[in-house]
């Protein structure tokens, strides 16, 4: 069986991007690299729908979040974090690791946070320096109401709205200025269709002002220093140049597709996936599902992790299982980045076979694929690619 990577990260990397990265390596202090990096900076501004500088860091998304904590905050600062999933919990743990006072607003895994609960935490901690929330909580497949939370934060001049958009940016319509997001982070191995190894972060003027007072220790992840260098098309330390060459190509591909078309594709694939698994009699785990990844409760009658492991072992397909609190209980089907309609059909068909092998037969064969097909049919045309603009559109 061919290997098929259909996970929420790393996501599949397009052949065009793979071959771009196989070009001979060049030095980062050359006019040729600097020209490419400048085009990437422009392309990232287009993708992030922002006029702000978008900084490229050589690390995972977690590293970029660390950069924000180190560069914008101080020991003892109060930080309100939204839990309810592995990544939301991580941002609380990281705040504690940096000697900050983490006020964790929790909610059951699978549910979206209540905006009122965050408002109560803000009212109880008017000195909070930041509210941290995942746009898409990858571990549960939930979309949190970050826009509504951002609206609460906007009125507070000393509080920053920090959003983990690692599996959201590029999936649906996000703009930091419009949405009131002061710190917006994503990683390369998600909707950006790249291998892991790069992370991206953009900061509002309010966030940059906070940087002047920040006392957390920092060196490698000093965002002010990075901004100064990246405006000159350089980085503070040797960057992952082959991944940046891949970024140039993946930005071109995204521009050829267009942002509205990209967002519509993700929405369509997500809708079809949800319809497909529900047609098999399965229950969605996320009460407020994100368009990046669909999390599904396994039938109670089959073995823990049977779908995830069965797909891995018998179909050579990598999706995602459950993590931590829901380990073994859910499986997660991804549809962000380099995914198309037939990938969804593929993963649903394979899931049907695995479910049947595991003894879950409460569905008509083909029911999942059929339900998805009906939705996918409407967008099932070969889309013409737009001319490459190679920078901000």
């Amino acid at each position: 069986m061919k290997y098929r990577l259909l996970s929420p990260g790393p996501t599949p990397v397009p052949e065009r991007v793979l071959t771009a990265m196989a070009n001979p390596i060049w030095h980062h202090r050359t006019p040729a690299f600097e020209a490419t990096f400048q085009k990437c900076r422009e392309g990232l501004q287009w993708l992030f729908q922002t006029q702000q500088e978008v900084l490229t860091l050589s690390c995972s998304g977690t590293g970029a979040f660390e950069a924000a904590y180190q560069s914008l905050l101080s020991p003892g600062d109060t930080v309100i974090t939204v839990a309810g999933g592995k990544f939301g919990e991580r941002w609380g743990n990281m705040a504690k690791a940096f000697g900050m006072n983490a006020v964790v607003v929790d909610c059951p895994w699978g549910e979206a946070i209540s905006t009122d609960a965050v408002k109560a935490a803000l009212d109880a901690h008017p000195d909070a320096k930041a509210v941290v929330c995942c746009a898409s909580e990858t571990s549960t497949g939930v979309r949190h109401p970050y826009e509504a939370i951002a609206a609460l934060v906007k009125a507070r001049p000393h509080t920053l709205m920090m959003v983990d958009a690692i599996t959201a940016l590029g999936v649906w319509d996000i703009s930091p200025e419009r949405d009131g997001i002061d710190v917006l982070v994503t990683g390369s191995q998600k909707a950006l269709m790249l291998p892991p190894g790069l992370a991206f972060i953009t900061l509002s003027d309010k966030a940059w002002a906070a940087a002047d007072a920040a006392k957390n220790q920092r060196y490698y992840f000093d965002l002010k220093k990075e901004r100064k260098n990246q405006k000159l098309n350089q980085t503070s330390y040797t960057p992952a140049v082959s991944l940046i060459e891949g970024l140039y190509e993946s930005l071109k591909m995204m521009q050829e597709e267009g942002l509205p078309e990209m967002f519509a594709r993700h929405a369509r694939l997500a809708k079809a996936t949800r319809a497909g698994v529900q047609a098999l009699g399965l229950e969605l785990f996320a009460k407020a599902p994100a368009d990046s990844v669909t999390s599904v409760l396994q039938p109670a009658t089959i073995k823990p992790d049977a779908v995830y492991k069965g797909l891995m072992q018998r179909a050579n397909v990598t999706i995602a299982g459950g993590q931590d609190a829901v380990k073994g209980k859910i499986f997660r089907v991804a549809h962000l980045g380099y995914y198309d309609e037939l990938d969804i059909i593929t993963v649903l068909a394979a899931t049907e076979i695995i479910l049947r092998q595991e003894g879950y037969t409460a569905f008509t064969p083909g029911a999942g694929v059929g339900a998805a097909s009906a939705i996918l049919a409407e967008g099932f045309v070969k889309r013409e690619r737009k001319a490459t603009v190679g920078g901000a559109a």
Copy 2:
């Protein structure tokens, strides 16, 4: 003119490694990735000549040094750092950024540090928690006497010997246990023949014991957490999987060549380069030259940076110029990683042409190439590659 990357980092990446990295991406939580990562761990132990775990981090070499500072030391700790170049100075600045007391032992750029000066600093600061020294100071081309310094540190149970071997590991014979190095760091884009984006670090038992008492803030770069995960062939955060696939291939290539042969090649290329530039009437900048990069004083009669810029602009060759204190005054010819005899001939021939164009004519045409050729002749055979061992030899 073809583009030729002949710099001390990024260094050229072999075609075999480039194509390995162009394979479809796989997920890091799969048996296939874990098997590759285990082979890489074994191969790194072979390359580092150590029984210790060698940890792989997704960052530049600077990030790996930060990991050591964060994971092994505490605010207020005294750290003795050897300056005398851009990178030695960086480790002092980084110590200050982490609230530590950096005792900087300086020496003129281009000279190796005096072991006695480090001994005096150790005697004056018996509470020092670490001595930090570059094995090869890339900015000056100097090899520091880190073995002699390590011998001083070994007797002190509360002091760690930290060595930046970013342009030394794989170039000459280094073994942490034998040489008394407690923390040994390198980066992917040097002798390891990979693009930038990964760094590697290995710690002695003495260093791991220090980790238990370390109070510096850390999260992304928590080495104890990494060790726990990497022993299970996993990483704490999503790793740069395509670069790890390249690492597997580059380790195979190094094992096919063999460590003694690799060290001998680097020594031969370095000797030839030094002879070549001296035959042009030029003076070596490094008083104790490392075998990784040859730094050369420009003739006083030509324009600042004329050789570096001339090679870049007219030969499409990237070498390295001078940085900071010696900006414009020196140029640096590299010979670490994927370099062979004909690369040295190429760069010397191009340098001769540029020097002549710039008005420096105090040499017979071909003198540099000739002097280098005479030395290269002895090792000028097509070497048979050994069978791949795919792990520790």
